[in-house]
């Protein structure tokens, strides 16, 4: 995840777009899209671009919809019912995306976001933990990529254990 240059998940997560409002005029920046940016133009920029622009203080941004108030309240109420994968389009990298936004925010907003994600993650946990005992796929289409990875790990290790327990029962005698 995160700032790992080579991580495929990080690249995918960075591809999400956020809404930015430009504060200054940047001549010639709209090269590919046509037109120059004037003050207070609103644009959707992908994260990897927005990161630099915001750091250099040329624009401001709002917390994007996947982390907005509505989602936050839904998560507080019942974390397992929220389909995180739907919120960020195909592939679903809600956690990766959130982490990047968090890095850019000021301290108190960031800690709020971090709490929200931690809580969502922990509650989604028991999905993965049930994996070894319960049926697969009951909620696995509602999980985002990170959760799915962990879920698969748990299932795979449980499967191996089961196989080991059952093998060699006949082999030796």
């Amino acid at each position: 995840m995160e700032n790992d240059y080579f991580s495929v998940e990080a690249i995918l997560a960075e591809n999400q777009k956020i809404q930015c409002t430009f504060k200054h005029e940047i001549p010639n920046m709209g090269h590919l899209g046509g037109g120059t940016e004037r003050e207070r133009t609103k644009l959707q920029l992908p994260m990897w671009l927005a990161y630099v622009i915001i750091y250099s203080d040329w624009a401001e941004f709002n917390i994007p919809q996947p982390f907005g108030l509505k989602v936050r309240n839904a998560l507080k109420a019942e974390a397992t019912s929220v389909r995180l994968s739907n919120l960020v389009g195909a592939g679903g990298m809600w956690y990766g995306f959130g982490k990047m936004i968090m890095d850019m925010l000021s301290d108190e907003q960031a800690s709020e976001m971090s709490e929200m994600m931690t809580k969502a993650f922990k509650d989604a946990q028991h999905f993965a933990a049930i994996g070894p005992g319960g049926a697969g796929g009951s909620g696995s289409d509602g999980l985002d990529a990170t959760e799915r990875e962990i879920f698969t790990l748990a299932q795979a290790s449980a499967k191996r254990m089961k196989k080991w327990h059952e093998e060699s029962d006949k082999a030796k005698q």
Partner: protein
Amino acid sequence: MALPVHLRDSVTPQELEMIACQQLIEIVPLIAMEKTAFISGAYGPLRPPSKAKLPLWMAVNLKLKKKCHIIAPDWLNVEHLQDRLAQEVAKPDAFSDLPFRFSEISKVLLDVASDDLENPDQLRSLLKDLREARQAKSREGLKHLDHSELGLTGLSSMEINEIRPFFVQSMNVLTKIARSSET
């Protein structure tokens, strides 16, 4: 040339079984053998019918060739396991005290030497119940996972191995998410 994921992060059950087989176990040999040197140490001499202590792998080997009888370790009998099962049920947040590699050793012995154990079927079912009770508890305990620590005392080596990839990865993710609140 990378290892598949499941070999990268944890040990396979078969490897754990092999490691467990290095423990010493008592047998009654049916053949005589001089004191022989092996890589791990010298074992023997074997003078039937007196008992001897050998590593489990060697005992299994002899048993398969019908050259010894294995004596069950003192925790592998019905009352002991029933006692442990009662303990498991009575204490919902602690694990009962079982030998670290009980799962592997009991499986090997049940496979190879079920005629040397009393009541092998009952032992099997008790072991299964124990495993399920402990699994349920470890699942409970996993819910309290946070990014810096996870305390589940008393788990056996097989159980640790089973949840290791899961909780290591979860803790990684939690660390990444939680980072900002510390800076």
